[in-house]
Symmetry: C2
Subunit: 279 residues, 2 copies
Amino acid sequence: MNRLSAPARFSLNQETVRQWSLPELVSGCAAAGVRAVGLWREPVRRFGVRQTAKLIAGAGLRVSSLCRGGFFTAADPVGRAAALGENRRAVEEAAELGADTLVLVSGGLPTGERDLAGARERIADILGELTPWAAGHGVRLGIEALHPMFAADRCVVSTLGQALDLAERFPAEQVGVVVDAYHLWWDERLPEDLRRAGAGGRIVSVQVADWVTPLPEGVLLGRGQLGDGCIDLRGFRELADGAGYRGPVEVEIFHPGLWAREGSEVLREVIERYRRYVA
Amino acid sequence: MNRLSAPARFSLNQETVRQWSLPELVSGCAAAGVRAVGLWREPVRRFGVRQTAKLIAGAGLRVSSLCRGGFFTAADPVGRAAALGENRRAVEEAAELGADTLVLVSGGLPTGERDLAGARERIADILGELTPWAAGHGVRLGIEALHPMFAADRCVVSTLGQALDLAERFPAEQVGVVVDAYHLWWDERLPEDLRRAGAGGRIVSVQVADWVTPLPEGVLLGRGQLGDGCIDLRGFRELADGAGYRGPVEVEIFHPGLWAREGSEVLREVIERYRRYVA
């Protein structure tokens, strides 16, 4: 095992090195001993779902997650039907890729709406239709809570507790939760919610990025390199492990500073930081 | 009563019209029939605390809140002593102004620290020393939870539930909570926490601003004009009223777009929006 070889549970989310094409991602991961990747639908579809699946399988890689389905909060029938159709396609893609989980980001408040509770209820409703489809394709759905700063425009599910309340309406082998340190670190209920998630066999994905300030405009691209911020990432990973999680730990950083650098140099740094702050 | 006359419970936080000097604020409020204002320490100190108190009293205005004390999370003895000294001065100023409450923003994580629970415990510790001083000056302290997006650099108290956990360690007539719709709107526990706060006589201040996206860089100046965003402000105010709150409802908007306009025009618009979306 060379010095570059990534820890066994390390997974690289594709968006961390979005400057890489899919072939570059696969060869870069192989060179660094990375065993799992998190993929995104848009680049996968551009490259071709079948071609991606072949490329990934040929390199002996595992797909720890496919991002993403969701955006379930449309209040009108047309928007709802479109969301359901799009999510069925996402399930098919996840199945073809053999992804461990399809990540679901619930969606924010539709324009002009102020009813958070109503939007949250619509998510449960559409999940009720999507879940049999996913089960039929052997795909497990993972509900991801996003940081409350995204509640308006991206995801009305803001805490792990809420994600569990939704997931637990369905069988554990069909619907679980994605726990991302960046979104959840501030919540004092996190330890008890992680125990609840683990006890129910609901943790389908663990993701990490650090919290750095000041947040950039739009806040989406503010995820920091591991160790650059204030999250106790090792403590977070240990909580998940303590709750029984044994799967991949996926590094998902959206940061223009990382995208501007050479991909293999970024991956080397990410692995080094992962060893120091997470493993 | 002319058409400009503000609703009885309306209060204008000074930072909403920061383009105004204190004399302009006082005369502008008098002209619009505003009965209460929220003040900030920095402009008050620049103008002079005693002079401000005279000006306010002379116009028959009430000070609904003084912002702000707090920043209690220093881990070192020197930083802790400095924070305590600064907060004693803030209490004296609040007493001189006759403010209903001194707003406390707890402070974020000290640089290099990752221990949220430890930082939260230090707040309780320093409050134990500050509270008798405040009681001796007849000043009520109000713990404000800030949105979780401020947990790292501004306020480790992120929910109303946490603010209440802290406040309830002290007598209700000495320590209460400040409830600000902008910081709390996303939290599904808000209704039950507001009931708990009201039942204990802990609500010392109610503030409103709307949530608009995209958030600006640094996110601090992203508070939106009432009605421009997605918060159910009337529902929020009704929850507070339902919990027994009868005090002022303070409009606190930090927005460069408002600061660039003529102050009395901004106040007129704020009052109109308040009638439409809050009252």
